[in-house]
């Protein structure tokens, strides 16, 4: 069958992606500008026999998602700014206990209640470091409605494959705008978590395979195992043993760091001979793309570097361009977040400039082009 062509919002495409990935549980709480995700899932999920619940708050929604995932259900929640802050405690729990789940954050203007209906990209660092404690994070950042569909599926796949929480960072522009999307009749490569090959007696819930990822039994399958947010050993029970604590935190990082090739995804435009690299992500990358094209028309060798996986940051991919770069520009809808990571990786080899905006308006191509012209 041929794909269906539709005009959808990014939030709607996220729902289509979640359904294509086989979502079985959604727990949420209404918050602008992510609410359409909950509304649409509330309509669609009972029709396919899966579970939709609106919880009493964001904290409980995140908790419910983790509980559901432990029964084997592919689980997701969606939120925005203030709600994302509330989810952080249990987000850390999901990462530490290695329970797969997807958290969508449609970024809006902040801090605090801020600009609920306006875009921003100011939760980039909250996505990285919002929950307490040292932890790895996977966060993906789509630039279009169609990419939101595919990255939602990818978020589920990465969550299931690496047994972790995956954050999908939309911004209000991508979440709310409507554009063309081709929805395939069938999606290949939908992943589910690795199950144990041993019975209850031989099962050690946090004993990893060679890939550093432990197979995951579902609650109710007779394994009768323990899950705790306390530091735990391979048995799943708490331990204060510093050696075991070190082994656990080390493995959690390594299971991500050893697989950067699989996890990290970027897009570049006209970077082959670029001397000025514009780094941008999400909706801002659309403005940057326009600006780079306009710069080329003026004979300026500019290119776009777009992190699609924003965490882990695509450091190796960026560094490969360093020898050819004379200037680096980072455009983002905040007053300087990802630019810190870019600066860290550029490490003084080229000047790094910001096109930064925190007033709730999308950065325009004109703004970025002006900066390109200024620094060339």
């Amino acid at each position: 069958m041929s794909p269906t062509i539709k005009l959808l919002q990014g939030n709607e495409a996220c729902v289509e992606g979640a359904l294509a990935a086989g979502i079985q549980f959604y727990g949420g709480y209404p918050i602008t500008p992510s609410t359409e995700i909950a509304e649409l899932l509330a309509e669609k999920m009972p029709r396919v026999g899966s579970a939709f619940i609106q919880m009493e708050d964001e904290i409980a929604a995140m908790a419910a998602v983790i509980g559901a995932s432990l029964t084997g259900a592919k689980s997701m929640t969606a939120t925005s700014g203030p709600g994302f802050s509330l989810k952080q405690e249990n987000l850390g729990y999901a990462i530490y206990t290695e329970i797969p789940c997807v958290i969508v954050n449609v970024m809006r203007g902040g801090p605090s209640t801020g600009l609920p209906t306006s875009p921003s990209q100011s939760d980039v660092m909250q996505a990285r470091w919002g929950t307490h404690g040292d932890h790895p994070v996977i966060a993906l950042c789509p630039s279009s409605v169609e990419e939101t569909f595919w990255l939602t599926i990818r978020a589920f796949n990465l969550a299931e494959k690496y047994r972790t929480a995956v954050i999908l960072l939309l911004d209000e522009v991508v979440g709310h705008m409507r554009e063309r999307i081709e929805i395939p009749d069938h999606v290949d490569n939908v992943l589910t978590r690795k199950k144990p090959s041993v019975g209850r007696e031989g099962y050690r819930p946090y004993q990893p395979d060679a890939d550093l990822i432990p197979p995951m039994a579902s609650f109710g399958e007779g394994y009768r195992y323990h899950v705790t947010g306390l530091t735990h050993d391979e048995t799943g029970f708490p331990t204060n043993d510093t050696e075991k604590a070190g082994i656990l935190i080390d493995r959690l990082h390594k299971k991500i760091d050893n697989n950067l090739d699989d996890i990290v995804e970027i897009e570049t435009q006209m970077m082959e001979d670029a001397e000025i690299m514009v780094v941008a992500y999400g909706s801002t990358a659309r403005s940057a793309s326009r600006a780079v094209k306009d710069a080329r028309a003026l004979g300026i060798k500019a290119g776009l570097f777009r992190p699609i996986t924003i965490w882990p940051f695509p450091a190796n991919e960026l560094k490969q361009y360093l020898p050819q770069l004379k200037q680096v520009i980072v455009a983002e809808m905040n007053l300087g977040q990802l630019i810190l990571e870019v600066e860290r990786n550029v490490a003084g080899k080229a000047p790094v400039h910001g096109v930064l905006r925190g007033d709730g308006e999308l950065i325009t191509p004109t703004q970025i082009l002006a900066r390109i012209k200024e620094v060339q």
């Binding site: 579970a51 708050d57 904290i59 929604a61 509980g67 432990l70 029964t71 009768r224 195992y225």
Partner: protein
């Protein structure tokens, strides 16, 4: 070996609780109730938050989930709603359930989702060494109430009933046999059930409030608790300072996962047409 011992992870014992703590007796009552209710050990999930009581599931041989402070019911709701065929039992402390988890608690009651909740009430935060909880009586002492507690305390059972729980009971560690019976009935209730289990914390609450040894505190439970039947026969003057134990509320209401299942079924029936 007692029949209920098969529900314990004997290799995890001894437990970390203080000597004289009432929580072990209550864990015994919970496991005996599970045995009486004949729950399938492989299809039963025990969920807890953070605190002394929340360590109990670690000693119980089921799928067990030790979550974050106050959030046990959020996690448990996810487990139950995703897989309604599982039996879900939640063990919380008084601070855990009613302070940081108070919002989750009243909403779980309101939904009437089929979860059995046991709140171990020792009137104090024990794990963090004796701060006052929403169940510390006014005027009583705690490390954060050195001049007497300013706060008033909740009545857990009244709160549960008002919020919509369909089975509400109170028992005590001293009345362990009765407590087992109440928890068994709570498990059988096809909706949200709350059992307040009065426990003693001789280490912190008892010491701060000069309540003597664990035995003294258990004796106080014996003296102060009056059954529902007995309470009907004594004057209100005689009831001063007493605590009513037994079954306090029973009602019928549609169960959350069943209501949702009905919606799913009717939608799918429409699709078939």
């Amino acid at each position: 070996m007692s029949a209920y011992e098969k529900y314990l992870r004997n290799n995890r014992l001894p437990h970390i609780l203080c000597s004289g703590c009432g929580h072990g007796i209550i864990m015994g009552a919970i496991t005996r109730a599970i045995e009486k209710a004949d729950l399938d050990q492989d299809r039963t999930v025990v969920v807890s938050g953070i605190g002394c009581s929340s360590r109990l599931p670690g000693y119980m041989d089921f799928d067990t989930l030790h979550t974050t402070h106050g959030r046990a019911l959020g996690f448990a709701t996810g487990v139950k709603f995703a897989k309604p065929e599982l039996n879900v039992i939640v063990i919380m402390g008084d601070g855990d359930a009613l302070a940081i988890g108070g919002n989750h608690f009243i909403h779980a009651c309101r939904r009437n989702i089929n979860i059995t909740t046991i709140i171990l009430n020792n009137n104090v935060y024990g794990m963090t060494s004796g701060q006052f909880s929403p169940m510390t009586p006014q005027g009583h002492f705690a490390t954060t109430a050195p001049y007497g507690n300013v706060d008033r305390n909740f009545d857990i059972c009244e709160l549960s009933r008002a919020a919509g729980a369909t089975y509400v009971a109170r028992g005590s560690a001293y009345h362990a046999v009765m407590l087992t019976d109440l928890i068994t009935k709570a498990i059988f209730n096809p909706g949200f059930s709350v059992v307040e289990a009065i426990s003693q914390c001789p280490t912190y609450y008892g010491r701060k409030n000069k309540q003597g040894t664990a035995v003294d505190m258990l004796n106080a439970q014996k003296e102060n608790c009056v059954t529902v039947a007995a309470s009907a026969k004594i004057t209100s003057d005689q009831m001063q300072g007493k605590i009513i134990i037994g079954e306090l509320h029973k009602s019928e209401a549609p169960e959350y996962t069943a209501v949702y299942r009905n919606i799913v079924d009717s939608l799918q029936a429409k699709e078939m047409k």
